[in-house]
């Protein structure tokens, strides 16, 4: 049998990984949720869009034309639009159009009202508090725009002109970014938050399970008695937690790429969601370095608790912080600089964004990697120091955060 701390740590890692694979909570957070979140989300969104479209098509909006609002051709065009019921009203004398529209809405007799404006054109009255009214507004606007376009084209053709020449300022917009670049920018804006969230979620349950959970199951002393150095035991557990978080991250990234290709490519969104292998490798490297810090802190904090439930309470504030920082760092305009590259978690978010966008600035990116590695090493040393205190494993009561410094000093009773 191979000997040494590294080989022993791998044996402990394999045991923890096997145990974790048989635990439904770990499977849920490290495998199922990261894997299924995007297909379910995109499928749900697609279904929702289809459903809303169907609902909109089935809904009849009442449009009241106040006296003389539309010329007969326009009125005829509106009559052809599905889902619009056109009614005309002859108004009582002395009321302004807006007052007549308000009266109609108050009596729930119309959802949209159209009136001739005082100058040229039309006034469209709607109620932004009513979904039906907003839907009617969109449909009327589309119908009128179509009529306007048709009239302009006909007028231009009669005079032998190009219809575009009738525009005061003809603006043609052209996006120079490729579909792939657009796709990567969208990924860069959204994905770091999801990837870091899933990584921490994947690591969270196992970190609490192998520390506070051990105490609750009365296996902490069994582990202390393993015939290997304490650092090998800690390294084995750390690798298991890191592995769970890394697995969650890799599955989430893979799931995102596959699901978004299936749902978005070839659609009107015009996105091409493809990442070069080098970008994927860099994203996973950043995630692992981030997870070294996250896993260490979660292991250290949960070790203070006596039971699994308490461990969750202890680790939840840290978990919240680890997912809030990426959200804050993802604000538009935040870039990886010499300063932000040194801020824990923020550096991981921004480095991941650059790797996803393909916009890596070599200096700040390398600095972020170094800072992440150093922060992970510090976190590891902190958690290993706590783990080496047998008193924490044998404690019959939870240890408050305020006493954490006591356990970071060298003292008797090492695990």
């Amino acid at each position: 049998m191979p000997r040494g701390s590294g080989a022993d740590a791998l044996r402990i890692f394999r045991m923890e990984a096997l145990a974790a694979a048989r635990d439904r909570h770990t499977l849920l957070y490290a495998v199922l949720v990261p894997l299924l979140v995007y297909p379910l989300l995109f499928f749900g969104m697609a279904q929702w869009i289809v459903y809303r479209r169907g609902v909109e098509e089935r809904t009849v909006v009442r449009v009241t034309l106040l006296e003389g609002a539309l010329a007969p051709p326009l009125e005829g065009r509106l009559q052809e639009v599905t889902g619009l019921r056109i009614e005309k009203e002859t108004a009582p004398e002395g009321l302004l159009p807006i007052e007549r529209a308000q009266a109609l809405f108050a009596g729930e007799r119309a959802d949209i009202a159209l009136a001739k404006a005082e100058g040229p054109g039309l006034s469209l009255y709607y109620d932004s508090g009513s979904e039906l009214s907003l839907s009617g507004r969109r449909r009327v606007e589309r119908a009128l725009e179509s009529c306007r376009e048709k009239s302009r084209t006909m007028a231009a053709t009669e005079r032998g002109l190009d219809a575009g020449a009738l525009e005061a300022i003809a603006l043609r917009k052209e996006d120079l970014a490729s579909a792939e670049e657009t796709g990567r920018r969208v990924l860069g804006a959204m994905l770091p938050i999801f990837l870091l969230l899933m990584s921490v979620s994947g690591a969270f349950y196992l970190a609490v399970d192998v520390t506070a959970g051990e105490k609750e199951r009365k296996t902490a002393e069994t582990t202390l008695l393993l015939p290997v150095p304490g650092r090998a035991v800690f390294l084995g557990k750390f690798l298991a937690v890191l592995g769970a978080g890394g697995l969650a991250c890799a599955l989430n990234l893979g799931s995102m790429l596959i699901a978004s290709r299936a749902f978005f490519e070839g659609t009107a969104a015009g996105l091409s969601v493809r990442l070069p292998a080098a970008s994927v490798a860099l994203v996973l490297l950043v995630a692992l370095l981030f997870l070294a810090l996250a896993a260490s802190l979660l292991l250290g904090v949960a070790l203070l608790a006596r039971s699994f439930r308490e461990g969750q309470s202890y680790a939840t504030p840290l978990f919240t912080l680890l997912i809030l920082l990426p959200i804050l760092a993802s604000q538009p305009g935040t870039r990886l600089t010499g300063g932000t590259a040194l801020v824990p978690v923020v550096n991981a978010t921004l480095a991941m964004r650059e790797a996803l966008e393909g916009s890596i600035q070599t200096g700040p990116f390398l600095l972020a990697l170094l800072a992440l590695a150093a922060q992970g090493a510090l976190g590891f040393a902190f958690a290993q120091r706590l783990h080496a205190q047998a008193a924490l494993h044998l404690a019959e009561e939870s240890v408050p955060f305020s006493r954490i410094l006591e356990f970071l000093r060298p003292k008797e009773g090492k695990a």
Partner: protein
């Protein structure tokens, strides 16, 4: 496996705890004893006497404040990994990993004790046979009854064939049959030449099994000797009465 001479040697062991509620207190206060191969030494005492702390120091989980302890020649402070490799330790707090099966548990401990890979399977099968665990070898430990778990735990302590066994109240939670089986197991291991340190507060078990008995109270050993010797010393026949006489004399 057996060792010559004192397999367990404890000299002037002291353990001081700084407790937030009780202040500083000496859980173990100058304890000394020896246990040879082929001998069962019983540690008797009420709750809080210092038995568990003493055994935790011997198992290297806790460091002593003062004194020295060796297991099969390995110093508990200087060579903790060597001590754990020479020791089979069982207590109410050394539970089994619930999501592993008995077979996986035994193989895991065999590997960590660096048994040659080609021997592990044979050793695991031998122990499964010995403790009548074949039928449940593939069932997760969390699904086993208390008695079945205790048998797996006993098998676990023997995977690496240690010369010293330390058993802290090994019959807790066992029914009559389970207790008898555990007693028979200990007698068998003694016959094989192992040193057995056995902590209990069940007096008949100690009377039946122990070659010598050390009585602990408030961290100190009140008396050590054979059952016959303690009878002579106190003028009482039953261990329970002997215990009370010794306690009254402190």
């Amino acid at each position: 496996m057996s060792v010559d001479g004192a397999a367990v040697r404890v000299e002037g062991l002291v353990k001081v705890f700084a407790d937030r509620h009780r202040g500083t207190f000496r859980a173990v206060d100058g304890v000394s004893f020896e246990c040879k191969g082929g001998e069962v030494l019983g540690l008797l005492g009420p709750n809080g006497a210092g038995k568990t702390t003493t055994l935790r120091i011997l198992s290297t989980v806790l460091l002593p404040t003062e004194g020295k302890a060796t297991i099969a020649g390995h110093d508990c402070v200087k060579d903790p990994v060597g001590v754990r490799g020479s020791l089979g330790f069982l207590s109410a707090n050394t539970g089994l990993y619930p999501r592993l099966t008995p077979r996986e548990t035994l193989a895991f401990f065999g590997r960590l004790h660096h048994l040659p890979e080609e021997l592990i399977e044979a050793r695991v099968e031998e122990l499964l046979d010995l403790f009548d665990l074949k039928d449940i070898a593939g069932r997760r430990c969390e699904k086993l009854s208390t008695g079945q778990r205790q048998r797996v735990s006993l098998a676990r302590t023997l995977v690496h064939d240690p010369p010293v066994l330390i058993l802290d109240e090994p019959t807790t939670g066992l029914d009559i049959l389970g207790t008898s089986a555990a007693m028979a197991f200990l007698q068998e291991k003694r016959a094989e030449g192992r040193a057995i340190l056995f902590s209990t507060h069940v007096m008949p078990e100690a009377e039946k099994l122990c070659d010598r008995i050390a009585i602990l109270h408030r961290g100190r050993i009140l008396a050590t000797g054979t059952l016959e010797g303690l009878r002579v010393q106190t003028g009482r026949r039953y261990l329970e009465d002997i215990f009370h006489v010794l306690l009254a004399s402190t």
